[in-house]
């Protein structure tokens, strides 16, 4: 604790401190360059002519891009909500209960994190194709590929990531807090609602944010399980890159960057208010 507030004195300490800045520069300078060049009035990405909002106007007047953004947001919201609930439940069941087949489940939960994207994409595509084929012959009803299949696929891989994050948080939590609540005759639900959930909330929100990012980012799985009219933004952008990077991509990336920064800020804000609300547990009952 005592060393925390000290300023660096020796040359080696200074060097370490400078290093931190260099690392930051290394990570953030490219992003800064991208943002600056998104305001560039030139068809070439790397040649500066003059500042302009031309590419932003292009993005906002491009129906295909707007539609892709819409699809991406719908999929991201659905898959984040569902996978956060299911992932949290999976984490709780693994940390708090013992049941038959748990070890197997424990291993399986992490599988989507390890499996290569392409394998996952092909598996899901096969699964839907076969499933739809079966439904068609059994019930005469054939669902189509689209937003639903993309959302289900994103949920499938997001659950794992949410579970891992929430589980880490649960592992850090003192089990005596829950025992104390039980001692005070709180029901399982009350304990969860009033003690466990508020304490793991940062983990849950972190998991949700991760799920949101992964869903907004995914190209491979999405392009395999998409359907007519359901193109997400990253798939669209990758299709563009085929003929070289255009500044339109800079503008789209900048918009996405701003959106994700707003989300991070929002989640930080949420975590702060949730923490202040947890402290006066006494008044709750």
């Amino acid at each position: 604790m005592s060393a925390q507030g000290l300023r660096p004195n020796s040359p080696s300490e200074r060097l370490l401190a400078t290093n931190a800045w260099i690392v930051y520069a290394f990570f953030y300078a490219p992003i800064l360059v991208l943002i600056v060049f998104s305001f560039n009035d030139n068809n070439n990405v790397g040649i500066w002519t003059e500042p302009s909002l031309r590419w932003y106007r292009d993005v906002l007047s491009n129906d295909a891009v707007l539609n892709a953004i819409k699809i991406s947001v719908i999929v991201a919201v659905i898959s984040t909500l569902v996978s956060t609930v299911l992932g949290t439940m999976a984490a709780l069941s693994l940390e708090r209960f013992r049941y038959r087949g748990q070890r197997a489940f424990d291993g399986l939960v992490y599988l989507p994190i390890i499996i290569p994207d392409v394998t996952m994409a092909v598996m899901l595509l096969l699964f839907f194709a076969q499933g739809f084929h079966f439904l068609d012959s059994a019930l005469g009803f054939r669902p189509s590929f689209g937003v639903a299949t993309i959302s289900l696929s994103h949920i499938a891989f997001n659950i794992s990531f949410v579970a891992v994050v929430v589980r880490a948080r649960l592992g850090m939590m003192d089990p005596r807090l829950e025992e104390a609540a039980a001692d005070l005759y709180a029901s399982r639900w009350q304990t969860f609602r009033r003690v466990t959930l508020p304490l793991i909330l940062p983990g849950v929100l972190g998991g949700a944010l991760l799920a949101l990012t992964l869903s907004l980012d995914d190209v491979v799985v999405t392009s395999f399980v998409a359907g007519p009219g359901a193109t997400t933004l990253p798939v669209y952008v990758f299709g563009l890159v085929r003929r070289g990077v255009t500044p339109l991509i800079n503008a789209i990336s900048t918009l996405m960057l701003v959106a994700s920064m707003v989300l991070v800020a929002l989640s930080l804000g949420l975590q702060r208010t949730s923490r202040t609300r947890v402290t006066p547990v006494g008044d709750d009952q």
Partner: protein, 362 residues
């Protein structure tokens, strides 16, 4: 588009397994009979590359035929293939050359009814048949491009041989300020070296490929980068004197340069790559006649010109030439007389191109 091929082979193989044990209902190869302008479905599911189709043309088609065109986009030929193999119902797709062959072989494409294509005659003779579709039964060329050399005249001089020597002969390249840039693409770069040596870019003789590897090794001292993304900008910025790259990127970069006259795009006399994207109708289509009507709509001279004026790729629509911007016509003028070859899929041999380029670079 070729970079993703390795992983896609695995994907395609797996998808095939399903196709084999799943759908048997698709009657492949059945003959279609459509009338000119016939509409057999009021929704057209159009599966295309991003930013490849003029939205105004879509709107015009929708208005003229009271059809709702739903556009979806893919990022690789392979993802598109996998989707069709799984039975996702698209009515019109735009695959690249080598992929057409794969799709025909797998029975995924309808044979076209040429009688329903009143404007078929507008298509240039050269584009009607290609090695991947020898009789032109399954595909209609959509747009094309070439792979050649962008040259900075100030660095290279007004007089030079239009040859791969501009990147592969150290005697020549040593005089260029900034050196040269070649594509970081096994088929394109090994193909260029093969052509310089007088072979076909689809040559599958290992000894010839060894020669090509040695050629690149010897030229490496003046090859500044193996690069597929920034070469057009490096060229117009003056960082390299000659850049190996795709026509589509070159035309944009050169037209935006401060002094466009200082740059030319040439197709080496030994031969260069031609790629063609094509319109084709999958067997899973629910509206094959509407798809024919759409193809016919794009084969119209003015509509074909509008497409090229929008995406700046070469137009296989010969009748469209008078309506295409002069700049684009001039840019692609060399294609007609050049010695061009389409890259064909070499199957298992494909890995050798990748290995040898890696060896040449190391």
């Amino acid at each position: 588009m070729k970079r993703i091929r390795e992983f896609a082979v695995l994907a395609a193989a797996l998808a095939l397994v399903v196709a084999a044990c799943g759908d048997d209902s698709d009657g492949d190869g059945e003959t279609l009979a459509c009338d000119v302008g016939q509409i057999d479905g009021t929704t057209l599911n159009f599966y295309n590359w991003s930013e490849y189709m003029d939205p105004d043309l879509i709107a015009a088609f929708e208005a003229e035929f009271s059809v709702d065109v739903v556009e979806s986009f893919y990022e690789s030929n392979e993802a598109m293939l996998a989707q069709l193999q799984s039975g996702v119902a698209y009515d019109l797709v735009v695959p690249s050359d080598y992929m057409i062959k794969i799709m025909i072989d797998e029975g995924l494409l309808h044979a076209l009814d040429k009688d329903a294509l009143a404007n078929y005659g507008n298509l240039a003779e050269d584009f009607r048949t290609q090695p991947y579709d020898p009789n032109g039964d399954y595909s209609v060329a959509y747009q094309y491009g070439t792979t050649g050399l962008g040259v900075n005249l100030e660095a290279v001089g007004e007089y030079f041989v239009e040859s791969w020597a501009l990147v592969f002969d150290p005697e020549i390249t040593q005089h260029f300020a900034g050196g040269v840039s070649v594509l970081n693409d096994p088929r394109e770069t090994m193909g260029a070296a093969l052509e310089y040596l007088g072979y076909s870019l689809n040559d599958t003789t290992l000894e010839h490929l060894e020669e090509a590897t040695q050629l690149i090794k010897d030229a490496k001292a003046y090859i500044t980068t193996f690069d597929s993304d920034q070469y057009d900008e490096n060229l117009v910025n003056g960082e390299v004197a000659v850049a190996h790259g795709y026509s589509g990127n070159m035309i944009v970069a050169m037209s935006e340069a401060d002094d466009p006259d200082n740059f030319v795009y040439v197709l080496p006399e030994e031969g260069a790559t031609l790629w063609i994207d094509n319109m084709a109708i999958p067997t899973v289509s629910n509206a094959p006649c509407t798809a024919h009507t759409f193809i016919d709509f794009l084969l119209d001279a003015e509509n074909g010109a509008a497409l090229t004026n929008w995406n700046y790729y070469g137009s296989p629509n010969e009748a469209a030439t008078p309506f295409i911007e002069q700049e684009v016509v001039d840019f692609y003028a060399g294609t007609a007389t050049a010695n061009l070859e389409v890259i064909t899929d070499t199957g298992d041999y494909e890995i050798n191109f990748t290995d040898k380029l890696a060896e040449a670079k190391s």
